[in-house]
Amino acid sequence: MARIIVVTSGKGGVGKTTSSAAIGLGLALKGHKVVLIDFDIGLRNLDLIMGCERRVVYDFVNVINGEATLNQALIKDKRVSSLSILPASQTRDKDALNKENVGKVLEELGKSYDFIVCDSPAGIEAGAMMALYYADEAIVTTNPEVSSVRDSDRILGMLASRSRRAELGLEPIKEHLLLTRYSPKRVEEGEMLSVEDVKDILSIPLLGVIPESQAVLKASNAGEPVILDTESDAGKAYQDVIERLLGEEVEFRFIQAEKKGILSRLFGG
């Protein structure tokens, strides 16, 4: 049985696609068979972050409409052979997705993949609901900032009431908090909500803390998910996320500000 994981947030621009790409690739690098699905119909971007935008021929909606088979639409990653990407459609037929036909595609994919990672669109409209409907687990991507935290709580409500698991009265979706764009220095200065603050408010288990990092923009510029940048802080933080998803206990890194020496503290710099 494949694990269906939705990467969601409510608010836009918090790092859902960056995280989906990093996590999908990271799991595949561990030898698992992974498929990444872009649910953002009309605003596809996962292809760009994955660096396969020029190889898109058919998309999710083509598959749903029977215009292409799954195998025709799936793009095999050039770096890791066990990873495939199912791109979203760029045309605007948002209503193409419904529970029934999405369910069929996921069931089909579940036969040959270990992980199905669903990159949700922002908002709480039909597209976002569709991305979370079949999920077994949810990675709630949150920035340490008031509007993002509030929206994440909203999404937690949706996970608990609007998902398939909720409707059928099954075991609830397993929720994970992924805190992104975290700046330990600003937290220390009292300018940013801390990990503990966000955990207190949302009260769901912490999966990872990704520091605000220049590596993320560089990675998206190049179409190479940031987890491949193994020297970078963000890359390492995503690697820890993968270990935790696979059941390992890993200590949290990058949540303390770098200690300054006494001299630089006294004289600035």
Binding site: I124, E145, V146, V149, R150, D153, R154, G157, V187, E189, G190, E191, M192, L193, S194, D197, D200, I201, L202, R265, L266, F267, G268, G269
Partner: protein, 91 residues
């Protein structure tokens, strides 16, 4: 200046982060409440509606359901579902 800051900044002041946390705790608690809460009048309303219905038709408890749904924005929908059986037409 950093030297001076170091000694004078020590007094605890309310940080913007703690303000953010406080505001979030209040709004999130409030929104969670309104998400989960059924209005107090719902059980009584259900009984009253059933009473009126039973004046005219046979309604078993299983063939009746009532649901208050919060839609987006300020829209609330009261949903009544009553199954009518064929035998009702006979009397």
């Amino acid at each position: 200046m950093a030297l001076l800051d170091y000694f004078f900044k020590k007094e605890k002041q309310v940080t913007t982060a703690s303000k953010a946390k406080e505001r979030l705790q209040i709004i999130v608690a409030h929104e969670r409440n309104s998400r989960n809460k059924q209005p107090d009048y719902l059980p009584q309303l259900t009984e009253d509606i059933l009473k009126v219905l039973r004046k005219y038709i046979k309604v078993s408890d299983e063939s009746f359901s009532i649901n208050l749904d919060k839609k987006e924005g300020d829209l609330n929908v009261l949903e009544l579902n009553i199954e009518l059986h064929d035998e009702l037409n006979k009397d």
